[in-house]
Amino acid sequence: MAITEPTISRRGLARLGAAAATIAAVGAVKTAAAAETSGTIKVGILHSLSGTMAISETTLKDVMLMLIEQQNAKGGLLGKKLEAVVVDPASNWPLFAEKARQLISVDKCAATFGCWTSVSRKSVLPVFEELNSILFYPVQYEGQECSRNVFYTGAAPNQQAIPAVDYLMKENKVKRWVLAGTDYVYPRTTNQILEAYLIAKGVAKDDIMINYTPFGHSDWQNIVASIKKFGSAGKKTAVVSTINGDANVPFYKELGNQGLKATDIPVVAFSVGEEELAGIDTKPLLGHLAAWNYFQSVDTPINKTFIDAWHAYTKKPTRTTNDPMEAHFIGFNMWVKAVEAAGTTDSNAVIDAMLGVSVPNLSGGYSAMMPNHHITKPVLIGEIQADGQFNIVSQTPGLVVAQEWSPYVADTKDLIGDWRAPLHCGAFNVKTGHCTAGKKA
């Protein structure tokens, strides 16, 4: 009966069989291929090359390829060549988990460098813990996490947000604060922490305005207007922006057009780097700020060599560098060092060897991997210049140690993460002496 099902002919059957066979064969070949090339050490690269996050993540894939190429030029690692395995999780969170599993169990990657958004990290986290592999996460994030299998080379809130706020308080006498962010976990947590911090600093509750917008919000007219209004209360006002990626371009364009000058109401952003500014006409934004642990404009020899190498590799002399790239630079070098120290790529050995490893960062100092799997970083504050680069106006005297568990969040103020023996715990409650989560399996 033709309506519901075409009854399959024998020939059709044969064809179907053939198709299945080819698919199976392909699969087999692929796994075989994976098993066979054991002469190399595989490094997984898990960054979206398509979809909404491609804008930010593609660069990180490129920088990883560059770093691996450089390492191989130096003779590889443990006498083997490094082999990059690039996959595209396509800004699709479940796909991130699937691809992570593939990189670890099918491609047998020794370590994986990847993820940008918190949700992608959350999505792959269980996979890395289950299969006991290593992830290097290069983006500034909300903290409140400390997994044994993840090394957080981006900034925790206290390595970015708090120093920025301090700077504005001291330098611009800011009394009134707008905390504007995209409605997801990083801004939420950061603003929660900042609010607590500001109130602790004696800022009145009604001098703080918190505003959340959806992802990719593109019409900022009345939000910018309301910021202006909020700023007209006679107290020096500043905006702390945790607005995410895409939404920033229209936001800054609106700022510029509504004439919100940095000298009146400065905006300090935590998610806006050289990469994002590359998409904006920065002339009207002169003087607005960003807080990072690295700026392309950092004036050090090591940064110069890095940038030159980058331009040579991408063959684009205008291609910018940014903070997450530095994070990968640091993370990769740390991993190399740890593997050399451990003499193997075995996860457990490397995870232990990672602790205390210290490598040069691009701003002239050394960053070290702390027992909480976060790294020490300087905090830089930069003002946007007409050329889309940042003019560094402040840098913390020393390195800042990450607080993975925020002391400003009631439920986590007593927690610490320490993966050294004997503690081996991601969330150790110093009050109760219990390890609430992330005990080593």
Partner: protein
Amino acid sequence: MKLDRTAYLTLGLTIGIPLVLALLNQATPAGSALHVPTYVVALAGKYLCFAMLALAVDLVWGFAGILSLGHAAFFALGGYAMGMYLMRQIGARGVYGNAELPDFMVFLGWHELPWYWQGSQWFPFAVLMALIVPGALAMGFGWLAFRSRVTGVYLSIITQALTYALLLAFFRNDMGFGGNNGMTDFKDILGFNIQADSTRSALLVLSALCLCAQYLVARFVVRSRFGKVLIAVRDTESRTRFLGYRPEAYKLVVWTLSAVMAGIGGALYVPQVGIINPSEFAPGNSIEAVIWVAVGGRGTLSGAILGAVAVNFGKTWFTGVLPDYWLYALGALFIFVTLFLPKGIMGLFAKRPGKPVAILEAAK
């Protein structure tokens, strides 16, 4: 109900392949050549869940001519129902060690569970919700839409509006469903460790069984007199009215059924992929589901299943093998199929070239 060769083949493959995979994964040691890595098991499970979504879409699109561009919404709702249960199972093992509240609520500074989380700790309740919530939403939506004779693209677009609205709503942290991060880091289901290979294999087989059941149900429906009326409605709605049938009633029944089927798919999907978040509501997902059906062969139930598995296999494979170019491949595939295989892959296997399954008319 009499089964023909196609049905036997479909059922056989749908239950057989997963069973073999699961067995090999369990029975053989990791080293051996026959061993099926858990990666493959998890993947297969995912495909089967997508197949359920495809089946659901095919039921309304292929047989009732309702092109839903929002079916992933029902899938996601089912997923959330299950996600809530899994979230509650974490209990005190969460980061904040709060036995009562899921982590994201703790960090939002909430102190007790919102009312709509009550009961979610009981598995049967969760399952019930996975059926009821999508079903109820579909029924309400359908009742409005079909009664006022919203048809064709208008219907398609408002289904899209529906899923888009849900997407935005679930993004909001204040909704109490974990915002953009959704729910993840599940520990166990019914006491079994969700990470364990055995659990995964079990879930895979379970999904296979569910899919078979859904296939049989769908097949029963479309072959019954009800199904004949449905097809009649699809092609010449007004005629059925003058014959005394109420198309809206028929559409509503099949629409709701389809939503429930999608919900089940979602509920099985979440424990296997380990995360549920608003991006599942993205209109793109719904459109992809439609495309699976088109690729497999609209109006053929086995085609829907085949299409879902085939396209997703392709996606997995391409994103791994040619990360920078896979979109070309996928896009080209869709174009190719629509241009040259109007009856989808099943069209290739059809015994008699025959008439297309009145697809052309149905398009109206």
